[in-house]
């Protein structure tokens, strides 16, 4: 049995126009020590999927399907049980380290909180453990940091603190939602290396959410490509990066700047814009932007096609190679 198995996960948001699907039919599973990447553009449902895993969806959102974590369906658990799991077995790192720390509490206090809450440590033991964790995330002068406030740290340092908090209780699954988007490029690389090393060291499962294909290609074993709330392509990272089956995935890769590109030549852009979630009817959500579109694409949802070992794409035109 997988550590975490997600089956037909969907998230709907009730609005004045009726229930809007934000995430639809997401299926995947992940084992300990494995890293899974979820890529897609803004609004494709990556973050909603992550929040659903944590049970932190906005109040009005309605999840359905199953999220089975070690035999327990998380969607069926009461809030009190989820509180025991969050921060303890499942942990999450957020996109904005600048605002994800409470400005009125010290760094030491914020790391210790989790330790006291979930591991029942005394406050002096928790402080000692906080120093060890800060050291683990390669924070210089960890002991001096304990009494500092978030505004005294840089963005990269704050993200290290966030990682230390997430790792405090040695979670089984770490969800990193765009962990480096708000950081500058050199710090990005350091933080990613850190996350990658820690996943290896501690044997966690990592779910890395990003819009950056380079990052995902570097550190994940498998990738899900999401578009308009659906997983349109899934497979082992190396395989999928080699044989891009879905036209959307190809578009994403095509939009990457290539070395040696002539200066001033425009980058490839996928034509059109992401459809509003409520306007996607029966067919393929990508149909209006797809260069290979056929009449059937608009009529019915394309089948899931096996294009390689453990590699599937939600498309009729996977036969076409670019």
């Amino acid at each position: 049995m997988a550590l975490l198995a997600v089956d037909k996960l969907a998230v709907h948001m009730p609005t004045l126009r009726g229930k809007v699907p934000l995430v639809r039919e997401v299926n995947f599973s992940i084992e300990r020590g494995e890293t899974l990447g979820i890529v897609g553009e803004s609004g494709c449902g990556k973050t909603m999927t992550a929040l659903a895993l944590m049970g932190l969806l906005p109040d009005r959102a309605i999840p359905s399907g199953q999220i089975v974590f070690e035999g327990e369906d998380l969607l069926a658990q009461p809030e009190s049980r989820l509180c025991q799991l969050r921060g303890n077995r499942l942990a999450m790192i957020f996109q904005e380290p600048m605002s994800a720390l409470n400005p009125v509490h010290t760094i030491g206090h914020q790391i210790a909180e989790s330790l006291i809450l979930h591991r029942g440590l005394s406050s002096s033991d928790a402080a000692a453990e906080a120093v060890r964790l800060l050291d683990l995330v390669r924070m210089p002068e960890p002991r001096a940091r304990l009494s500092q406030y978030p505004h005294q740290l840089s963005g990269g340092q704050r993200q290290r603190v966030m990682i230390a908090i997430a790792l405090a209780c040695q979670p089984d699954i770490l969800i990193a939602d765009e962990p480096t988007t708000a950081l500058d490029v050199t710090v990005q690389a350091q933080i990613l290396d850190l996350i990658h090393d820690l996943v290896d060291e501690l044997g966690m499962a990592l779910i890395l959410i990003s819009h950056d294909l380079g990052i995902v290609g570097d550190i994940t074993d498998r990738v899900l490509v999401m578009y308009a709330g659906r997983v349109v392509e899934a497979g082992p990272t190396v395989e999928l990066f080699h044989r891009r089956a879905h036209p959307y995935t190809r578009g994403l890769f095509g939009a990457l700047p290539q070395p040696g590109r002539t200066r001033g030549s425009p980058l490839f852009a996928i034509p059109g814009t992401v459809p509003d979630p409520w306007s996607v009817a029966g067919g393929c959500a990508f149909a209006d932007r797809c260069l290979l579109v056929e009449p059937e694409c608009r009529a019915a949802l394309p089948p899931s096609v096996e294009v390689g070992p453990a590699h599937t794409a939600l498309c009729r035109r996977t036969d076409v190679t670019t």
């Binding site: 969050r86 942990a91 009125v104 405090a168």
Partner: protein, 280 residues
């Protein structure tokens, strides 16, 4: 980064300094009255009634010949005590209700807020009169009445400020580390809204002093023979033409306390929220 301390920032606010001095005078008067007053504030001396200010009676005497300066000193105790207790009642219950409302949302929030709206529908002094009319006049009951009026004020402001904090990223992060909603509002929200609450408490302290004076003026607050600024005003009105100073002294005392606390609150707000200060 902490180039200047909070206290230095406060002291650079003119409002804060003036408020601090005025409030300090009132508090000093109250403390002084415990150890020393020129005369007993309750000693009646009818032959020496309605005396003008002199070296023996600094503020003169009232229609019973009591020493007005001593009465003002002792009366300040009453005002401060009413202010402290009434604001404490308002803060303790109001903040708890406000936090509960924003933690639970849904019908709990609606219930608390509609109750606050209901209480707000009556003018403060009217509901205070209503409560003292039911419970009977007296210092304790007037404190209760003013305290009850303070509850919805703090419930509202707490909920409003708390909801703004609850939408921040670090709250989501706190939830992701497994904290329950109640724990989050107490540990993460409350410290972030304390500045708003401190400012409001200072201003409501002034309002409480004013309300106590009003109730005592109407005969519903502090009862004789305990001196109270409000009742001194009431008693002086019969002699307004013969001895106008009798009304001016307690009036000035009330004004000093209220103005001092209001300026203190304004100064605190400007010091706690520099953005607001610049916008003004």
């Amino acid at each position: 980064m902490k180039s200047d301390s909070f206290i230095m920032r406060c002291l650079r606010q003119r409002n804060f300094v003036i408020g601090l001095v005025l409030t300090g005078v009132v508090i000093a008067a109250a403390l002084l009255s415990y150890v020393w007053t020129p005369h007993s504030p309750t000693r009646i001396n009818v032959p020496g009634r309605l005396a003008l200010a002199s070296s023996t009676h600094w503020f003169g005497t009232d229609h019973f010949g009591r020493d007005v300066f001593s009465m003002i000193l002792v009366g300040s105790r009453n005002s401060i005590m009413v202010g402290i207790v009434a604001v404490t009642i308002g803060v303790a219950i109001g903040v708890a209700l406000g936090l509960l409302a924003s933690a639970k949302r849904g019908w709990v929030e609606d219930l608390v807020m509609r109750m606050a709206d209901f209480t707000f529908a009556f003018p403060a002094i009217l509901s205070a009169i209503l409560i003292t009319a039911i419970l009977g006049p007296g210092t304790i009951n007037s404190i209760l009445a003013i305290g009850i009026f303070n509850i919805p004020v703090f419930a509202r402001i707490t909920r409003g400020a708390a909801n703004a904090i609850l939408a921040r990223d670090f709250i989501l992060a706190a939830r992701a580390s497994g904290k329950g909603q109640i724990r989050i509002v107490v540990e993460h929200v409350l410290p972030n809204i304390s500045n708003v609450l401190i400012v409001q408490a200072t201003i409501n302290f002034a309002l409480a002093i004013l309300a106590e004076a009003g109730l005592s003026y109407l005969g519903l607050g502090t009862q004789p023979p305990d001196p109270s600024w409000g009742r001194m005003l009431n008693e002086s009105q019969t002699f307004l033409f013969r001895a106008p100073m009798l009304a001016i002294y307690p009036g000035a005392a009330i004004m000093t306390a209220v103005l001092g606390l209001n300026l203190l609150g304004d100064g605190l707000r400007d010091a706690l929220d520099p953005r607001l200060a610049r916008a003004r």
